[in-house]
């Protein structure tokens, strides 16, 4: 338990994430086939690959939504494959979802406060009786939520119901909620899908800012190669659940196998981002 979170002022240690021969089988198909890679502390690691390659499945294994058929995922001292989602969350892994998964009727603030769940303690009794401890806790974490909202640029939306916000903003709320978990590893599943050039650039900057100011590791799934190339320190490429390439972006980008399976000869997104 050496690297569980210690909120007593000392710098949290950012552990390394090691994925080893993770295999996931669903009735009749192998979504992940002995996939392995390592996310160095504080780095931005991208996972790319064609549709259905197994990227989200990989995220789902890391966050405990799916159970790996075999293989191991170590995050610092802990072995994740055996843990349920909420235990993994406690270890400091946070993620966003490919399809927005917010509570549409709750305000942005409440959605973000949910991110603080693992960092707060108030149970039914404490909350029900409004014990001073609960009130203090709420105030403290509410302040932090506003800090993060300002950072992500949601301050003016804090009290709007999420459901009525435009998609682009909802995407940012997802990121904000993940940040509210004070993660040591942040996993982003297609953060800029469905955004236009301008918004993509914003999001990219935001991700960079996160990494700079928090120094946490970031695992990124994205189809926008421009963004991947700009942000990633290392890239893992999946195809049909197998790892077909791994390494620094420019090396991967010119890997013929990757071009064949994923990028294609010329790609509009390239133009878009160039």
């Amino acid at each position: 338990m050496s690297d569980t979170y210690q909120p007593d002022g000392m710098e949290p240690s950012i552990p390394r994430l090691e994925v080893r021969d993770v295999t996931v089988r669903f009735a009749g198909l192998t979504a992940l086939d002995a996939v392995g890679f390592t996310v160095e502390p504080g780095s931005v690691h991208a996972v790319i690959g064609p549709n259905g390659a197994g990227k989200s499945t990989c995220f789902n294994v890391l966050s405990g939504v799916y159970r790996a058929t075999s293989g191991s995922v170590r995050f610092g001292g802990a072995e994740l494959t055996a843990l349920p989602p909420h235990r993994i969350a406690e270890l400091g892994l946070a993620r966003t979802f490919q399809n927005i998964a917010l509570s549409p009727r709750l305000s942005v603030r409440d959605n973000m406060m949910l991110g603080r769940h693992r960092l707060t303690r108030a149970g039914f009794v404490a909350a029900g009786l409004r014990l001073p401890s609960a009130r203090r806790e709420a105030a403290l974490h509410n302040a932090r939520v506003e800090e993060i909202a300002a950072f992500v640029g949601l301050t003016d939306r804090l009290d709007a119901p999420v459901g009525l916000l435009p998609y682009g903003v909802q995407k940012r709320v997802e990121l904000a909620r993940a940040l509210c978990m004070e993660p040591k590893l942040l996993m982003l599943d297609e953060p800029v899908a469905g955004m236009n050039g301008g918004e993509r650039r914003d999001m990219a900057e935001l991700v960079i800012a996160v990494r700079e100011s928090l120094g946490i590791s970031i695992l990124l799934v994205e189809h926008d190669m421009g963004m991947v190339m700009r942000l990633a320190d290392a890239v893992t490429v999946l195809d049909f659940g197998r790892r077909i390439a791994d390494g620094p972006p420019e090396k991967v980008q010119n890997d013929p196998e990757v071009i064949r399976a994923y990028l294609g000869a010329t790609s509009e997104t390239e133009e878009a981002a160039s």
Partner: protein, 274 residues
């Protein structure tokens, strides 16, 4: 049914005039006019919340599902108004939409989803042909015929949504962000498809965040901002205008002119606990 034969000569295609749409108190479109000539591909660009999807909903007559409604203006197809008789009437006239965000029938199998797509088609044989075409276009759908659609990957779902719409052998396709979440290669494949079905005589109205791709496909384009048409013209011209390049192609440009108004100098975020 045979698309070519059934096309009356000198038909006008889709015409939208001074359209205004509200969602309860929220006004989503005002004074929007646009034309989609028979056999053309027309693109609609615009930031998040600009009203693109609303426009398509208005054409297909699905606003009521969102508690919205047309408050002014009108829409006509081939001269005759697209009656308020309801969505099924619109589909019956061969105007079919690929809705935003995939919206596959998650609990039904891929196969059944495709059959659902054919419900609108008036003749079985054409539907059968269409099915051939869809499956060769997206082989993965054939592989997964028996899988529940909800379990497909994001991209696979997008392909299914596209294929499902094509099952109805539409005379006009309304595409809402068809490349959302697709890998570059697949996005290119979609682009191809659009060209192909258009070549076969299907008119296309394309809403796309991937402006580069959209402009490369379209003969003509409109730019929506907060519910109004701010720019329109031949695709080529628009692609050349640096306004569009900056805002929608995300190329060059400076912080001030960002569409989403994300704060340019964001407050630094310190590690928790502060």
């Amino acid at each position: 049914m045979n698309v070519h034969a059934s096309r009356p000569p000198g038909a006008s295609g889709l015409a939208v005039r001074d359209l205004a749409v509200n969602y309860g108190p929220v006004t989503a479109l005002r004074g929007v006019s646009l034309d989609v000539p028979r056999g053309a591909v027309v693109a609609v660009l615009g930031g998040n919340g600009a009203g693109k999807s609303t426009l398509l909903r208005a054409v297909s007559g699905t606003l009521r599902f969102q508690r919205g409604g047309i408050t002014a203006g009108g829409i006509s197809f081939d001269g005759a108004p697209l009656s308020a008789a309801g969505t099924s009437a619109v589909v019956a006239r061969g105007v079919v939409q690929v809705p935003e965000g995939r919206r596959v029938f998650a609990r039904m199998t891929v196969e059944e989803n495709l059959r659902a797509g054919a419900l609108g088609a008036r003749d079985r044989r054409a539907a059968a042909e269409a099915r051939e075409r869809v499956l060769e276009l997206f082989p993965v759908l054939a592989e997964r015929a028996r899988q529940r659609a909800g379990l497909l990957s994001g991209g696979e779902q997008q392909m299914l949504a596209m294929g499902r719409a094509m099952m109805a052998c539409p005379q006009m396709l309304l595409l809402d962000e068809p490349t959302l979440g697709l890998a570059p290669l697949m996005a290119a494949r979609i682009a191809e498809t659009v060209r192909e079905i258009n070549a076969q005589g299907t008119t296309v109205l394309l809403v796309e965040q991937n402006a580069a791709m959209a402009l490369s496909l379209a003969s003509h384009a409109y730019v929506l901002e907060v519910g109004e048409v701010v720019l329109s013209g031949p695709a080529g011209e628009l692609a050349a205008s640096d306004e569009v390049r900056r805002r929608y192609l995300g190329v060059g440009g400076d912080a001030e002119a960002r569409p989403t108004g994300g704060p340019s100098r964001r407050p630094a975020l310190s590690r928790w606990p502060a």
